[in-house]
Each structure stands twice: as C-alpha cells, then as structure tokens.
Symmetry: C2
C-alpha cells in the first residue's frame, strides 16, 4: 500500500499516512509541487518552520523501467522565493519507491541545538540524533555508513546546507555509496538545514513492487530501454563523453556564455569538452570504467570517475553545466581544476551553477581574477568555513551581484542562468525567463530544437516560434520529472514516438490506468499550472518572468544578437488558454 | 522661469528644459516619483543606465516658509526594486530652489573609468572630472570645498555609493558645510555611483523667487512658524532632546525593538535617550549650541553637535532611529559609541537603519556579538574597505539575512524596519507593510496616534482602526514630502488645523492657486497612487505589502502581542476606492 511518511521535526513524530485523493496519480515533481502548493503558505519564510521539505520518487520509481530512479525534492525556495523542485539521480529515489513510499514530508523544525537523522526501513521510520553535524557530505556519509548496515542510501547536506545558504544542495549517494549526485538548484539544502535534518538514511525494501499487469510492463520496459540504447545521444554520446558531449558544438554555435556572459564563445573549448574528459580518463587509467551509471537501472551511463594525473580519483565526471560554470564563464581552461571544483561543491553541498555564477560576478567586480582557478577554488573552499566571502558565494549569483553592486548578473527569480546564452539560443532563453523554478536548464531542452534539430527545428537566433517551443519542452520536462525518469530520455522522446508510447504503456501496466500519449502532456501542464499558481500567490508576478535587462541591450559578440522575444510572448508561454505558434 | 535640468552622463550634456505639463503642480517627492514612474522602465536594472536619479526641492522650497528646504532624491531602488524617494535636510534643497530649478534628472551612465561632478550655478550647469573619487563624504567635501568658492552646498556619495551597495545613502551638506544630512534609505547612493556621479556642487542663486502674492505669503509664513514654535514637540522637545526625545516613552510602551526584534523593551534606555544626549552635550561643553538647525529656515532645530569626553566633535546628534539601530537592537548602551557609528555611516555614506539591521542579524547569527560596540564599529568600518563583510553590511539587513541564513530578519520589500515594533505599534506596522517605499518610519507617523494621542487616538495593540490610521498618515506624509517640509511639522499638522491652513495659504500665495485643505490630501493620494502603480508594474504585488512572517507567530515579551492586522485590511490601505474605518 503506497503511503506518505510525515516527519514532524518539532515533536519527533514519524507517521505513515494514507495518500489523500488530491495527490493520487502524481509522483516526483508533480507530487512535491502539489504538496508544497497545497500545504505551504506561499508567504511563509522558506527557512521558517512553516515551510515543508518533500522527497518523492517518480511514478515509475522502484520498477524495472530504465532510468526511472530519480528523486524529486521540493519546497518553497529560499533562493527564488517561489516553488522549487530539484531532482537527482543516485539510489535514494529507487530505495524510497521500493519501500512503497510515495513521499516523505519534513514538517516544522527542531530546536537549533543539534542535528538529526531520519532512518527509514521496511520496519520503521524514526528520528535520532545525528553524529555527522558539522561535516561535509563525503566525510558525513563515510561516518554514517560505518554506523549502518551495508546497502543503505543517504540523503545529506554539507556545511552549506547547515549554514542555510541559498545555493546549497541536497546530496544523494550514487551506486558506489558516494554523495556525488545533487538536487542542486534552488537552495533546498538550506531548507533541510533550517529543519535541523542532517541526513535521511534509507534501508531499501526487499520486495519488487506489485504491478497490475507485469507482462505488459516488462514488454514495454524492454521497448523503452531499446529506444534509449539505440538513440545516438542517449545510447552513445552520453556514455562516451558525459553530458559535456556537446560543448564543442554549442561553442561553435556561439551558445556558450563566456567571461560572465560578456562573450559567447570560448577560445579554449577543446580543453574543456566531453572528448577531452574521455581522453584524459583513459590516458590516466583511473578507477573503474570510463562511463558509469549514477543509479540502478540506468542505461545511458553519462557519468564517470575523473582521475588526476596519478590516476587517483578527483571526483565524478563534471557535467556540462559545471564544466561551463567553472570553465568558460570564469575563463578557466583546465579540466582538472573543473573536476576539483565539482568535487568541492559536491562535498560542501552547493550548486555548481549558482556558485559558479557568483564567482564570475566577483571576477567581473575585480574581487577575483578571471582565469585564476587557484584563487577561485580557494574562495569556494571558504563556503565550508562560513566566512563572509564563503557565505556570499554560497548564496549564489544574484546575492553576490547585489553585494558587489554588479550590473551584469545573469539570473532569473534569483537563480543563476545555466550554460546557454539566451541571446543565441532564444528558446532556452524563453524557458529561463518563464519557468516557475527560475532559470534552469532542466526545465526544458529547447536547445535541442534550436541547436540539434531534435524535436523540431527552430532558428535559435529568431524570436519566432520560441514561445511555442519553450512551452512544449517545459511541458515535456514537467512530465518526465514526475515519472522519475532522467531528463536525458527527452532526446529519445523528441525523436522516437515509440519511446513515449512505451512509457505510457508502463504507467498503464503498473497502475491499471488507461492513459494515452496526450495524458502525459496534460500531466506536464497540470504540474506547471500548480507551480505558476503557487508563485503568483507567493508574489512572483509576470514581471518576474523576465531575463535581466542587459540581455536586451548588450549584443553578443558572435552574432550581434540581443534577446528580443516580446513580453507578450513570454506571458503566453505558460498561459495554456492562449494559442501560440 | 522654473525649469528641469537634465544631465546625460553618457554624452556629458547638461540641458535646462521646460517643465512638461505632466509634472506641473508637483514638487519634492511628488515630482521625483512622477518623473521616475513616467520615465523609467519599471523592469530596468536599478544600477543600469536606464534608471534615472532625480533631485527635487519641494513646492515651498526657496521661500521664507519655515522648514521648507528639504530635498527629495528619487529613482528605482536597488534595495527595494520598487520606486524610491528619500529626502534630506541640509542646504542643497534650498539652493536648487533658489536657482529656479524644479528638478535635476541624472540620465544614463558615464564609462566606469573615472568620477564626475555636476556643477550648477546661476550661469551654467556642467559636468567635469571630480577629484574626490575614492574618498568618503567628509574628506570629499573638504577637498571639493577647497576647490570652490565659499557658500556652495554639496551632494555627495561616500565609498558605499561608489561600490553601489544597496544601503548606500546620498549626503547633503548642512549649514556648517558638513555632509551630515543623508537621503539615507533605499540605496540611492548606489544609483548615483552607478552613474559615476561623485558630487553635485550647487552655487546658490542670488534672487529670492517671485511670489504671486508676497504679502499673503509672508503673513501665512509667520502663522506657520508660530504654529510650529508654539507646539510642544515642534517648538520645544525636538530642540531640547533631538528626535530621540521620546526614546523613554516608546520604551515604556514596549515599542522599542531590542536584540534584533527578539525583545521589545531595552533595559538601558536611560543611557540612550534624548535627555542623556542633551545632558552629556552640556556637560562636555562641546562646540556650538546644544541644538541647531540642519538647514536655513528651520525653526525646530532638532540637531546638535555631539562632543566626546574631551569636548571634541564626534558628529551630529544621533537621530532616534540611529540611536535605536546601534543601541537597543544591537544591545549597545553607550551613547558615544552610537555617535561614532552615526558619524561613520555619514562618512561612508550608508543608511544607519539598514546597516544597523544587518549588524543585528549578524549578531544573532553569531558572527558578531550583541553589545560589542567595538566589534560592530570595526565591522561597519569595513564597508569603506570593500571587504566581503563590509559589502554585506553595506547591502543592508535583508541581504545580510540571506547571506547568514537568518530567519528573524525585520524588513519589508528588502528595506530594514525602523525603530518601532509592529506588534506593539500596529499602525506603524501597517505603514511598514504597505508603504510603496518599503519599511519606513518617514512614510507616516502612525505612532503619534498610537502612542502620543496626537492626530487621533488608536489603541496601539489592537488591529482595529490601524489601516485607516495608516492611510491617513501616509497621505499626510506624502503631501509634506512634496512640499519640501520637514516631516516633523506633522505633529503640528495633526493638532493645529491653523498650521495646515497656513501652508495652503502659502501655496496659493506663491503660485496663484486656489487650493483648499482637501487638495493637500488629494496631492498625497496622487503621489501614493503613482508610487503603487510603478511598483505593481515593477512586479511588486500585494504579497510584497506584508511584514515578515515571524511577527505573526512570535509574541512580544512585554505584551504577548503578535501582528494580526488582516491581509485584507493591508490590501485596502492604499486602495483609495475602498472604504476604511
């Protein structure tokens, strides 16, 4: 019987409750957003006791469906002051689902004199004092793992989350039991910290979940896995080059923000690329295979272990966004430095994008130097120390911009822009502006149609058609995020209707539903509507659905392009009653 | 012929232009707000070239009317992201008016490779390179004064404004030629800094402005001065004890926020009071008279010079808000320390309230210690150095709260609350919540009716009647701010209809108008409507017209009171079509 676990940090109560009808049929992002929208006062202080932190696996979580183990974390965001869902790979999503838990809802806050851990097993759920307070993620998980039986997965915060910094992340352990996967965006680590919850420890369930029609499910599951493995991106380039596979292509397209968004092509993109990542990893003969999965059931395997010149693990393969944030946007060109930055952020528990944006802002303000990796790493290391500088960086790009009186600050709703220049990939710019989560690359892959001719073909430099494209990809992403699927399945979705059909068939076979492909679309819309409505009640008006002003009057160097999608078009993107073309 | 001076920082052009009909009949805050609302894109970056900075004397500026020399500064605020007007005493207001200048509008921005000064005289207006870049206000004004003929007044920014910090102020020189008066709130110094304008130098005009009916004017002017001097507050307590005259009374009433708003009565209020200020000044035999005026034509004389134990000037008499911000709210109890803080803020060019709020937040976060004046002064001194800590403090309480992950942060629209606990002076709380400028004590003196039985009598602890009271006082303040009058005339206005009539008579005699008392009311409403409309277009919805959540659930210690005025009442305050009682 599926259930919701409610944890009252003030009283210590952990209660398994039935799922209210309001939440039936929802999972992942759809469920976290519905719970936050329904149960959290939109004007609540995100760090106050009235906010709630929700974890939820997706609708296909805990099944044999490929890449279905993502976990969504949701709350009112201390970064955007709007609704937030941030999802992650790693093992906790699958483990929660295997326990028949639809969602864990963390309520109220414990007194600020200690740290707590939530243990969840097939037999109990309980809050106990946590011995890992004050530690960063890697050491914390090592310590907690030594105290527990093997096979558990861990959800933790580092020092940044303890400090309640607005760019702090929540770490999830991967297949190796390392806290390398992050629900990184929107400062949800700060919400967890505000509740004095240091860790969630999940003992996986022993049984495979019941399926209404196991045969149909397994057939559809195979079709889906086949569609993924046969797709050129999902089945090959991601596992060879990681998510940075397309750095070179994006850079050629003038899409890669450089030197704090003052340029849009990086002269050293060769040194920072998926190809280079693969090459160096092989040359240096580090631990393990070149590419690996971050969670059980993944067939795309975009991750890897990046070794230093002596073959010792630095950290995971940096993702495209991280490689960009500490690379072109900071004019740093050494992949080892990027990998060290990635590891540092994973350990401290901060978002590589928002901290990278903050570093770039400080570089432009003269407080750090463009290209100075050593200086930037030392500054980022201060986040763990709680120094004034560290706290500024850990608060993200928008706050750093304010503190340093900066004008060129690339953020929407307080959240730093990721690795696409909105002036040269305008569909992505529309998504950054309008998505209820703030500027987010995972809110919809418009760049696929803008730059890769996948899922349509829309001229990246024209204002035409971007609103419609953005709406379409945002809906798709909201649906994918609700299923517990890795967003990289989108490439297959865009090009292989069979992949979508297989997913619909799995949902029907699992739950006994009779959905059609169109229902997935309606699910995505419903989620976005819930989120936009919460934001409006939280005071984020349509004026917050705008890019920073400088994108409208500073031309890009490569194309002399500005962001010129009209405000009226932006306002229509998620107003589903409005027609778009 | 009245005119508007438009200064293009990009081209260097200074043009005197006619007053468009849209702006006729407006002055001071009414005029700055109308120009900002009409000419600045509400979504413009406040620190970008598309913002405008406006200076305007009031409608009675440059006349013999008592206390009519205030100057309004206006822009889109980098602190609140809404419209801002901040006014100040000192000489520049009267000087501008004596040149027949209704407003100075600073447009665009100079390149960031130098600092500029704007000189305005009866014969010319010009931009020239400024030699005072990099200096704080006191030294800057000393240097500039040595370069100019005597008798000029100066509008300058300190290092905080140069750094474009969100709590930076604009300094105005007083009767002694010292930059002790500040348009402090809302970060307008940062806007001036963003335009690379270090100083405005005003050579006063030689002629008294023409009056349509000089006889009537002078008669009314005398009646007004008499009403002020005969009023117990305006005519006596302000000049004896400064604006801190009522610290003891407010503290008795449990109205004084203490220890970062966690208490509402300070045990050492005797040590920090107007009485003590007067006593110490006399005992120490410092420079000049005990009380003095900050500008020509002032009959209330609430200022003074505060000497140290050796009789040497520390700075001006700290105002009530400053005494509170560095006193009870930081648990500091030495008046000398408060005076040093005041002088430091005046010199650096920052708002004592917002920096004080930031200090209190850091004290609660453990980064500084409550009661540690030395530590707090050293931290505030870092603002001039541009250190990370200094920049955080210079960005004000809301940003400091975010950076330190604080929950108890007393601010509205990003601007720190001043010295009244909204739970024990609820009329003031309503004004803090709803005023378009953010939390501001100068937006309306509801505390007069709540605590002094002046201008009505409304139980400070009841939610009843506060919305109506706040509307009334906000309208009155908006009118007073548009006339160029010091807001302390409000006490006389509240109690002496004759004072209001005298002002109406002066306006009519000066301009040949035929206003009635009701027209002053309509003027105040019009100004508020302009400001609210700008804010709505800037994206500040009614959700921004709320106090921080903790005031609703943390009871005050003295009265066990929470802020319980309903959201519906708050929404009605400035919706003038709605009836209030």
């Amino acid at each position: 019987m599926a259930k919701i676990l409610r944890v009252d940090m003030a009283s210590g109560d952990c209660r398994f409750t039935e799922v209210p009808s309001l939440y039936l049929g929802l999972g992942g992002r759809g469920l976290t957003s519905a719970i936050v929208a329904n149960e959290v006062d939109p004007l609540a202080n995100p760090l106050g006791p009235r906010n709630k932190l929700v974890f939820a696996p997706g609708l296909l979580g805990g099944t044999s469906c490929a890449n279905s183990g993502r976990i969504s974390a949701g709350a009112k965001s201390p970064l955007t002051l709007g609704i937030k869902e941030s999802n992650s790979g790693g093992q906790p999503g699958g483990h929660l689902a295997s326990l028949g838990i639809l969602a864990v809802v963390i309520e109220n806050a414990a007194t600020p004199d200690g740290w707590w851990q939530l243990e969840i097993s097939p037999d109990f759920a309980r809050l106990t004092p946590c011995s890992a307070g004050g530690l960063n993620n890697y050491v914390a998980v090592e310590k907690l793992s030594a105290e527990q039986s093997p096979g558990c997965s861990y959800i933790t915060i580092g020092r940044a989350g303890e400090f309640r910094l607005a760019a702090s992340s929540i770490a999830m352990t991967d297949l190796e039991g390392l806290p390398s996967r992050q629900a990184a965006r929107g400062g949800l680590g700060a919400v967890m910290g505000s509740k004095r919850l240091k860790a969630v420890i999940i003992h996986p369930g022993k049984e495979i979940l019941p399926l209404v029609d196991p045969d149909s499910f397994h057939k559809a599951s195979k079709r889906f896995a086949k569609a993924l493995t046969e797709h050129p991106v999902c089945g090959r380039s991601l596992s060879e080059y990681g998510s940075a596979a397309m750095m070179g292509l994006f850079n050629e397209a003038g899409a890669v923000p450089t030197r704090n968004f003052s340029n849009n092509r990086f002269d050293h993109a060769d040194a920072l690329s998926g190809e280079r990542l693969n090459e160096l990893t092989r040359q240096r003969g580090g631990q393990g295979r070149v590419a690996r999965a971050c969670m059980s059931g993944c067939v795309m395997r975009c991750s890897g272990v990046f070794p230093d010149s002596l073959g010792r693990r630095i950290g995971k393969w940096p993702d495209y966004e991280t490689m960009w944030a500490f690379g072109p946007n900071a004019e740093i060109k050494d992949l080892d430095d990027v990998a060290r930055y990635d590891r540092l952020c994973d350990d401290t528990g901060v978002d590589t994008i928002d901290v990278g944006g903050a570093l770039a802002v400080l570089m432009e303000a003269g407080a750090l130097k463009f290209g100075d990796a050593k200086g930037a790493l030392a500054a980022a290391a201060e986040i763990s120390e709680g120094t004034a500088l560290g706290r500024i960086l850990g608060s993200g790009a928008a706050v750093a911009g304010k503190v340093y009186g900066a004008i060129r600050v690339a953020e929407v709703k307080g959240q730093a822009l990721p690795a696409f220049d909105p002036r040269s990939v305008k569909g992505q710019g529309v998504t950054f502006a309008t998505n209820p989560q703030g500027a987010d690359h995972t809110a919809g892959f418009s760049y696929a149609a803008n730059l890769l001719a996948m899922g349509g073909e829309v001229d990246p430099l024209s204002a035409e058609g971007q609103a419609e494209l953005s709406r379409r990809t945002q809906i798709s992403a909201a649906a994918v995020d609700s299923l517990g699927l890795c967003l990289f399945v989108s490439f297959a979705f865009f090009e292989t209707p069979e992949a979508v059909d297989a997913v619909v068939d799995m949902l029907n076979a699992r739950y006994g539903w009779s959905l059609t492909r169109r229902d997935l679309d309606l699910l995505g819309r419903r989620v976005l509507e819930i989120e936009v409505d919460f934001n409006r009640r939280a005071g984020l008006s349509s004026s917050s659905d705008r890019l920073p002003e400088f994108f409208a009057y500073e031309e890009t160097i490569v194309h002399k392009s500005t962001f010129d999608v009209t405000q009226s078009d932006l306002d229509k993107v998620l107003s589903f009653k409005e027609e778009l073309k």
